[in-house]
Symmetry: C2
Subunit: 195 residues, 2 copies
DNA sequence: ACCTGGGCTTGACCTGGGTTAAGGCGGCGG
DNA sequence: CCGCCGCCTTAACCCAGGTCAAGCCCAGGT
């Protein structure tokens, strides 16, 4: 077994027989990405996803009007991929970019579907993944509905302490739905208030 | 079969043997709700969900600070329930309230889990449901990130034309994340612009 | 017909965040 | 060592939306 830690993590989501995991490892391919290299670009087919082994990624949505907003950051142990587009069999509308030299374990969705046909555990795992992703998005929805930009910022760092120092300020702003300028103002305001 | 239309709808999500559906109908209970009556209140156990047969509901999150925001409206054929809380086995933090005299088909999550143990089709259906819910929430996230309140309003009516005239203005505002006052202003601004 | 109350609008005023543009500053290549 | 570039900050100005408060409209009840 090449990735015992990853196996353990997945097994907490749904029971996963080691021999099934062995099959998964057999079809997965490792990939290294330089800083600023893309795992996926808008327009690419959403036919692959990966687990981050080392590094951090940002999922960027480039809107028709040119604005960039950030859907999520993903670090060690988390999944990257154009999930919504994959489910809808649409080309990716998301850019997924390494913010550090990174290393990932890539699966073709086609290979994953093969695994699903071999054992129900994969369908169960996929269900749990969908549910967890839903919970995350609903939490985010709620933050937009109820919290000010400043409150969202505080919460962001509470929930993602491991990203401290690894992502540029402007990306945090794009994640919060504000500009770099507004974020800088909010931070200086807080600094002052804390004397 | 008491609800052939519902059966058909579900069968489009995942293959569903009629005999399994019969079992589901056997454990489900119909419930009627008056206008303003709650299907679920904050603090209730999230141990049931339902399909709307007739009527409209709003899912309201009452924040600690007293503000009300609306997570979703649900009409005929859609699911109501405190989904995220159910997945996390937490008590509901959501109020689900009928905006019209309504009629729903209620399932206990416990009964649903029984069905799941009897046939994989239910797990597959649950997965599809999770995935669809995810897609909806991600779409909403994107709207908050990229669109102004006015653009969100336009999109809301494009996507929910069947709710026209059935939900009060203030609830639309609470769904968009703005106040009733702001919504009224936006609407009058648009009226003027259209001469 | 009248009152009442709920839901919507309007106005005056304030504030948070957008926009634009001008620096500051640290790292890196020449 | 200098100059450049990327990233962040600051300032001036503007506008969308929040807040508070008054008023309107209409449906329901008496």
């Amino acid at each position: 077994m090449r990735f015992p830690k990853l196996f353990e993590r997945l097994a907490t989501l749904a029971p996963l027989p080691p021999e099934e995991w062995a099959k998964a490892e057999a079809v997965a391919k490792e990939q290294s990405l330089a800083k600023r290299e893309f795992f996926m670009r808008p327009g690419d087919a959403a036919d692959r996803f990966a687990v981050v082994l080392r590094g951090v990624f940002r999922g960027v949505r480039v809107s028709p009007r040119g604005g960039e907003s950030i859907k999520a950051f993903r670090a060690e142990g988390e999944l990257i991929g154009a999930y919504a587009e994959m489910l809808q069999r649409l080309p990716s509308m998301t850019a997924i970019e390494a913010l550090e030299p990174s290393h990932v374990l890539v699966f073709q969705t086609q290979d994953f579907q093969q695994l699903e046909q071999g054992h129900v555990c994969w369908e169960r795992l996929a269900r749990r993944v969908a549910e967890q992703h839903f919970i995350l998005k609903e939490r985010r929805e709620q933050e937009f509905l109820e919290l000010s930009a400043e409150e969202r910022l505080v919460k962001f760092w509470e929930e993602h302490p491991h990203l401290k120092g690894r992502i540029p300020q402007r990306d945090v702003a794009a994640y919060l739905g504000i500009t770099e300028v507004a974020l800088s103002r909010i931070m200086s305001r807080r600094r002052k208030r804390a004397e």
